[in-house]
């Protein structure tokens, strides 16, 4: 589609837009269409979908508000943006829930049709904010989105309910116009995927989209348009990738790289279930998914599959880890490779199941009886879940050990444009089952202290494993005191030595100076952006983002010493912070936030400035 550009337009480096509406309003779809179009337009971008909590809230209620934020730029983008420049509010509840975040002077587009008495009341408004002057700090654009849309598609022949549901495409069209985006990608999608399901609905949506565009173009409302030039982006093929899908793909890739069959034992739990859903569609790749009766059975089945020779995986979230811990300990004792993926969510207890948090680190590190060392790997962005999953698998099969992969709700549901990797370029992960009876001892160890993997069906290697302490080398049950001491230390040593296989730690920014920011997991983008801001303000700041939480990299201690102050921002009350203090005796500062939400860039920048300032 050729779109004529009218009205004046000005250029911006970055813009953040938030679409917000009722759960039924299709905001996630709107967001992902905008994302793809923007990616095609060559911007760098980051997104943040904000689903309502687990409950199905009544229409129009605050609890039912669904949001999607996208930050796009001509520079590198690390986060979805602190404060949106534009808010599209499809109803009063969406306005109420999001207006506090809108930048001063920002654009608010509101669907006036929804601002009737009943909906205002549902959202807790005493009077209509579009009319009572309370929004004077913003540029408010009231648009009767529902009715204009209905008029535009009147003759398509949809019933009222279905017709109303196209209004999100009107909003999308309007925003496309406002930001000078090309509608073609979305029109293609409508004519493709959507039309395949229902051509009438597709036609209506296409019209609604165009109507939105035309509305912007023809009405007097918007004085100007905005443009965000292309960013410089690494060449390659890109797609939008969520953390859960990336993790699932990473496990699949690891299976291919090891030559093993993937087995997943899982019990559904928010926000981890989608990994189960994704993998259960991959039977053609030899993937077995077992939906167990609970988390314990799930990991139990994975332990059985690992013993039998699969690349075994179990996926869950925090409460599920609590239940799996006894079995994780068994896997540790058996020294079998096992991948345990914890998609962290807001705790404690049932907590805030749909919100994000980084508060399972100490649980996965210490939540077992006895001395039970288990390696921990974490992912730092949605797409990075792919590589983190592969790294977890490398460690598991190389060292014959369970490994925890930590992701979180923010990564899991969040999406980012992701460069599609070439499988052939990934280093293979060699696995060799033991076959020779002459050299077989169940708990003999190789140069990295790993014991042999001898799978049932191999003649002459019949052996028994179990959770009682085992004699070094033979693996027989042993109550010998010195053997127990030795085995506890051997197991710890094996895990500690994984550090020898890690690359040098990457430092972003200054290699020494005022402040070192140390983080892990899904806060990566916010930390990087915050560090950039602080450096732009003149501070010398470094950023280390840990992929490996256990063991930590060998060079970390030295790096910590090169800065006057170490700050550790986490979405918990200071878990990595505690570990760094204990291990390196560094007087680090904990920056914590536990609101079910990611850090904002400015929160990090401010914290850095504060501690860089105190040049004591």
């Amino acid at each position: 589609m050729e779109t004529t550009i009218s009205k004046s337009s000005s250029t911006f480096e970055s813009v953040a837009i938030r679409f917000a509406g009722d759960s039924g309003d299709g905001m996630q779809l709107t967001g992902s269409q905008f994302t793809e179009t923007t990616a095609l337009a060559g911007n760098d971008l980051a997104t943040f979908p904000d689903y309502p909590a687990e409950i199905r809230a009544p229409a129009g209620s605050l609890a039912g508000v669904s949001g999607f934020q996208i930050n796009f730029s001509s520079r590198e983008v690390f986060t979805p943006g602190d404060e949106p420049d534009v808010l599209v509010a499809m109803n009063p509840a969406a306005l109420k829930a999001n207006i506090a975040d809108l930048k001063q002077g920002g654009i608010l587009i509101a669907n006036t049709e929804q601002f009737g008495v009943k909906n205002l009341e549902r959202a807790g408004y005493k009077s209509n904010p579009l009319e009572d002057g309370t929004l004077s700090a913003f540029r408010v654009f009231p648009v009767d989105i529902t009715n204009i849309t209905l008029r535009a598609i009147a003759d398509v022949g949809l019933n009222q309910r279905a017709a109303v549901r196209t209004k999100n495409f009107f909003a999308l069209g309007l925003v496309y116009w406002l930001f000078s985006r090309d509608m073609q990608h979305t029109l293609d999608w409508i004519q493709g995927s959507m039309a395949a399901k229902d051509p009438v609905v597709a036609e209506a949506n296409a019209r609604a989209l165009r109507a939105g565009w035309n509305y912007g173009d023809t009405t007097e409302m918007f004085a100007q348009r905005y443009e965000v030039p292309k960013a410089r982006i690494e060449p390659g093929r890109y797609k939008n990738m969520t953390g859960n899908e990336a993790a699932a793909l990473g496990f699949l890739a690891a299976a291919e790289l090891t030559g093993l069959d993937l087995f997943l034992g899982s019990y559904p739990i928010t926000p981890a279930s989608d990994i189960l859903h994704y993998l259960s569609k991959q039977k053609h790749l030899g993937v077995r998914t077992f939906q167990a009766e609970d988390e314990i059975a799930a990991i139990g089945s994975a332990i059985g599959a690992a013993y039998a020779g699969s690349l075994a995986l179990t996926t869950t979230s925090g409460p599920g880890i609590a239940l799996k811990s006894e079995a994780m300990n068994l896997a540790m004792m058996l020294e079998l490779p096992l991948l345990i993926c914890d998609v962290q969510r807001g705790g404690p207890s049932t907590g805030l199941p749909t919100k994000t948090e980084q508060s399972d680190l100490l649980q996965v590190l210490y939540g077992r009886n006895g001395e039970s060392p288990i390696p921990i790997v974490s992912a730092s962005s949605p797409g990075d879940c792919f590589y983190a999953a592969i790294e977890a698998a490398r460690i598991a099969v190389t060292y014959m050990t369970p490994v925890v992969l930590l992701t979180d709700g923010y990564l899991a549901n969040g999406a980012e444009p992701w460069r599609i990797p070439d499988m052939a370029s990934l280093p293979p992960i060699p696995v060799q089952f033991h076959t020779d009876p002459a050299t077989f001892q169940p708990y003999a160890r190789n140069e990295v202290l790993a014991r042999p993997w001898a799978i049932p069906g191999t003649p002459g290697l019949e052996h028994r494993v179990g959770g009682l302490e085992k004699a070094n080398v033979t693996g027989n049950v042993s109550y010998d005191p010195m053997n127990h001491d030795a085995m506890c230390r051997l197991r710890a040593e094996k895990v500690a030595r994984i550090a020898d296989s890690l690359p040098a730690t990457e430092i972003f920014g200054d290699a020494e100076g005022d402040v070192l920011v140390v983080g892990w997991g899904g806060t990566m983008g916010a930390l990087r952006a915050g560090v950039e801001r602080a450096r732009a303000e003149g501070h010398t700041v470094g950023h280390v983002h840990l992929r490996h939480l256990n063991p930590m990299p060998n060079d970390l201690g030295d790096i910590l010493k090169r800065y006057r102050k170490v700050i550790v921002p986490e979405l918990n009350l200071g878990q990595l912070w505690m570990l760094l203090r204990a291990r390196y005796l560094v007087d680090a500062v904990s920056i914590n936030k536990i609101q079910g939400k990611p850090f904002k860039e400015h929160e990090i920048a401010r914290a850095i400035a504060e501690h860089a300032g105190s040049k004591a």
Partner: protein
């Protein structure tokens, strides 16, 4: 070449060469002298070489308990796992490797107390496992607390005034969990037990075998009433498919239904053999009915309560994989990576 291909290339043990001795291990057997577990171990060691399966294809998974030390004494692949979880672990073994013969050894506490849920779910799914539950009606390993099969009123360390728990009926439970093979044997009844084990081994699907086992330390004589030669004939009834339910010294007694559909013991001569209940292994409801025959009102049934064939969980999962692979366009993970909406930056 697949990492698994060696399994096909390697020379497997010829099952015909296997004997009972091949299944014994070098580990000292550490049950109390006189424990019923010895007899069961012996029967299993006798049964395994007769199944035509290479030794390396057996996997024994157990939980925790005296009974659960079983794998150490059986020279196959094995795992002495954690309390109550053996059915889950065994499910993982079997589902990922349908070529293996997977056995679970468990106790009344391990299987029905902490592990009750995994047991009934494994049975419901009809995973092809052979589950041997040693029922000594006590927690042996932890030195004598009442178990979910202990009789009400039992005085133990944790129930000094007598337990107020009603016991489970394991056979009823297994049947209600849709188990396709359900049977009962007794430790000292070598022949009967051997026969039941053999049928269980050959059953395709989940087989649940309750084995009455004497714990001579903490619950001695629990089954004397039916193992004692003198009273056996009156207290035990052997189930045979298609045969009327008879017991007693000369088969002079039988089981029939009264008007309320309740079971009653009848004199065969006066009541008439044709009015006796006839055992039918394919009828779950009848099996359930028979499981309600409980000492001392009734003789205790031994043998097979139910045996039907249904597709197994592992088999159906395998079929789904095969079908999916047949339809697949190949390309492995790269195809997934490449699929869906994408764009190119140059």
């Amino acid at each position: 070449m697949s990492v698994y291909s060696f399994l096909k290339e390697i020379a497997h043990t010829d099952p015909a060469t296997l004997g009972r001795k091949d299944f014994q291990t070098d580990q000292e057997v550490r049950w109390c002298p006189g424990c019923g577990d010895y007899a069961i171990l012996a029967q299993v060691h006798k049964t395994l070489p007769e199944l035509g399966i290479p030794r390396e294809n057996f996997v024994f998974v157990s939980g925790i308990g005296c009974s659960s030390r079983f794998p150490y004494y059986t020279n196959t692949y094995g795992m002495h796992s954690i309390h109550g979880r053996a059915p889950s672990i065994a499910t993982g073994v079997k589902v990922s490797r349908p070529d293996l013969s997977v056995w679970v050894v468990t106790g009344d506490g391990d299987a029905l107390s902490i592990g009750g849920n995994h047991l009934i779910h494994a049975l419901r799914r009809n995973v092809d496992l052979k589950i041997l539950m040693f029922n000594n009606r006590i927690y042996g390993l932890t030195k004598g607390q009442y178990s979910p099969t202990s009789e009400q009123g039992k005085r133990t360390k944790s129930s000094p005034a007598g337990s107020v728990d009603y016991p489970f009926n394991p056979i009823s439970l297994a049947l209600s969990a849709e188990a396709t093979f359900v049977a009962r044997g007794v430790d000292v009844d070598a022949k009967g037990l051997g026969a039941v084990l053999e049928r269980a081994a050959h059953h395709k699907g989940s087989a649940f075998v309750e084995i009455y086992q004497n714990c001579n330390i903490f619950n001695d004589g629990a089954f004397d009433y039916m193992t004692d030669r003198k009273t056996k004939a009156e207290t035990e009834i052997r189930l045979e498919h298609g045969k009327p339910l008879r017991f007693g010294a000369n088969g002079d007694k039988g089981i029939a239904l009264d008007a309320q559909m309740n079971p009653m013991v009848v004199d065969v001569a006066t009541h008439g053999e044709d009015k006796l209940l006839v055992h039918n292994e394919t009828n779950a409801a009848l099996g359930f009915f028979l499981s309600r025959l409980v000492h001392p009102e009734f003789p205790t049934p031994v043998g097979v309560f139910r045996a039907v064939t249904k597709p197994t969980f592992d088999g159906m999962m395998e079929d789904q994989l095969t079908a999916a692979k047949a339809k697949s366009k190949g390309g492995g993970v790269q195809r997934l990576l490449d699929g869906g909406e994408s764009w190119t930056v140059t």
